[in-house]
Symmetry: C2
Subunit: 86 residues, 2 copies
């Protein structure tokens, strides 16, 4: 089962990387852009009996390792396309 | 207009960060996970007259700055919810 986990910074947490990119875009002439925020996207395959079980496991992984929940949120998207394509 | 740009590594490009995370997940007891790949997700607001124009601008930004097209792909998702919510 394919899982896509988005790990954005929480609202209100300063994003210097995003600010730098925004500034660089401005220097390149893209002045119509604002509020640039940069997060992680983690894609993985997980072996689980059901979507519910996979989601439970992935939540644990996010809490323990994938996201720093002090400053980051996480959002889990499950896609069983790969499973049905077997 | 809100834009979400996903920048994953191209297939075949080695992902040491993903490998490290996969290994760490294994150490934590999550042995049912494979093929971990880590990419960027960029969220920004863009001022454009139409979705088509915004997509054109964003494609340019990806080619020039946001993605390293030698090793990374990019995917642009546009969401005009913010526009209609004004």
């Amino acid at each position: 089962m394919k899982a896509i986990i988005n790990v954005p910074l929480k609202n209100g947490v300063l994003d210097p990387q995003g600010k730098a990119v925004e500034h660089a875009l401005g220097s390149l002439g893209f002045n119509n852009v604002s509020g640039v925020r940069i997060g992680k996207q983690i894609v993985l395959d997980i072996d689980a009996a059901s979507k519910d079980e996979a989601r439970k496991e992935l939540t644990k992984m996010c809490e323990e390792l994938l996201a720093n929940t002090v400053i980051e949120d996480y959002e889990i998207n499950l896609n069983d396309k790969c499973e049905s394509a077997k």
